[in-house]
Amino acid sequence: MTALKVILYIVLLAFTVAAPFLFPDFRTQLATLWLMIVVSLTWDMTGGQMGYNSLGNIFFYGTGMYVAAVISIGLVYDVAEYTSAAGGGMNDFTPVQYFTGVGLGMLGAGIFCALCALILGYILFGLRGPYFAIGTLGVAIAAGELVSNWEWVGGGQGITLPVYPADLDEGKLFFYFLFAGTGVILFIFLRWLYGTRFGAAINAIRDDEEKAEAMGIHTMRYKLVTWSMAGFFVGIVGAISAFQLISFEPLESAYQTINLGIFMVVCVLLGGKGTLWGPVIGAIVFHVFKEVTWNYLLGWQWVALGALIVVTVVYFQDGIMGWLAHRKPEWFGVRVEKNDATEGADR
């Protein structure tokens, strides 16, 4: 890393920490921005870096929400009694119980979702291309329907979790830093991961899986591990969302295939598939665009969003980073180098 890069990263980190204090009115929006960044980065792990376009990553988000809710409730109450009471006098949590629930809930959600990814991946990674996309979408939709008929976790009504046990503004800060912290850790993790042999192996699977198999690469192993890492982080942000939203139900907020489930794909396409910064930039542009149209184009906001998606998919498939890579290939290490090796074949 050059000195310039180090300074850039320090500035970005400082801005991340300062942002909720500089813009106190936008704390929830900033927290949601970090959520978008995390789901985009994790979507890109399989979609951009490995060539497996999943439309079902929202499954981990919804499952993370439910796992975290069940864990944090189960520490204090009987889950079935709590959900059937639906908030009726049964949601007294001491601060200690609350924060223990949040911590264990996040961890449990991450681990549970990682395991889900291993099991689902074993079944679904036999599918390629559009079949994988539809297969994963099917899993997310089916999970939403199943959970909405499962009374133990509240059925279609969903779950109401306890409110943050202190000042609500402080709560907004708390959730902002949980999301941002997860995002920063994920970014650092991926920055390292894509530089290892593991990163090269999933890139090889993206470029030509049949060739990778013919070269003896353990393709299934890499696919499973990659998706379960993605599932782990999505599960964690799902858990944070559950505590942030307080009340959520299965179809519209947990397994929201048509909202967040699609947004994460659009963010990555907009920013540039298969790059480290693409999903981050895409998520920022998309989220700002969405917030602006929701405020100033009310009534037309879905039309504007739809237009953005169409334009991105049809005219701008390589995204912002892909466009840059075409214009400035030398920034991405593409160069012809003079031969300075002393030995080798005659040419």
Binding site: L193, G195, T196, R197, F198, A200, A201, N203, A204, R206, D207, D208, E210, K211, A212, E213, A214, M215, G216, I217, H218, T219, R221, Y222, V225, G274, G333, V334, R335, V336, E337, K338, N339, A341, E343, G344, A345, D346, R347
Partner: protein
């Protein structure tokens, strides 16, 4: 000379089409074995059967005395039996060096080792082999942007990087500029003599295969038509008939 690949009575049919019928052949350790035959005679099918691309209907295939006809593609590749493709396959979005580094042998690589970085020796070896096939200057270009012939050379270098015991090459000179062919023949021969890799080559270019191979098998209509040293094959009336269409 010991036998590396032993094919015995292998048959494979696609629906009603019999692609290989009762084919038997041996590939000897350290040699260069050729496989020729008119288009559609079942050469690539036999290659695909050997590397585990599809199950065979009957017969047996052994690699270093181990039955491999029931194993799948990556398992066979990790044993050290590698193939290149007729339609060249490289990792198009990655540059030459990355293509080489990911081709390091995965035989022994454990999952935890995959989280490590490549060593300086690995980089040196990649550079050396890229130099060997004449792609050193273009090693940081996106390999998908290389010409077909250059991609073919890159694929060959990747195969060498994998340190196979035996390499199956499906038409290595097809689509390569005639002036480059001599260079490629020389490199194939050197891979055989310097790196000790046994070669098994499908080739349509008679000048190339007669020049390189020490033993040649000829397939026609899915069956073994003839075998022998290059000069024997060249003068075999059945082989000449098969190529000129006397059937």
């Amino acid at each position: 000379m010991s036998t590396v690949i032993e094919v015995r009575n292998v048959s494979k049919s696609y629906g009603g089409v019999i692609a290989n019928k009762d084919v038997s052949m041996d590939v000897h350790s350290g040699g260069i074995t050729g496989l020729i035959g008119p288009n559609g005679s079942g050469k690539t099918t036999l290659f695909n059967s050997i590397v585990g691309y599809h199950p065979i209907d009957s017969g047996s295939i052994k690699f270093e005395n181990r039955e491999i006809s029931k194993l799948n593609v990556p398992e066979i590749a990790r044993l050290g039996l590698l193939r290149t493709f007729q339609q060249t396959r490289i990792y198009g979005e990655m540059n030459g060096v990355e293509n080489m580094l990911i081709s390091l042998p995965h035989r022994k690589m454990k999952l935890m080792e995959s989280f490590g970085n490549n060593s300086a020796e690995d980089y040196e070896r990649a550079d050396h082999l890229l130099e060997f096939v004449g792609l050193y200057e273009k090693r940081f270009l996106r390999s998908g942007s290389l010409s077909f012939g250059q991609q073919k050379l890159l694929e060959f270098a990747m195969a060498l990087m994998n340190e196979p015991t035996c390499l199956l090459l499906d038409e290595p000179t097809a689509g390569i500029n005639p002036t480059l062919i001599n260079g490629l023949i020389d490199r194939l021969k050197r891979a055989n003599s310097e790196f000790g890799i046994t070669l098994f080559i499908i080739e349509h270019n008679m000048r190339v295969i007669m020049n390189m191979a020490d033993h040649i098998y000829c397939l026609a209509h899915g069956e073994l038509l003839a075998e022998g040293a290059p000069d024997q094959i060249q003068n075999d009336q059945r082989v000449i008939d098969a190529y000129l269409g006397a059937h």
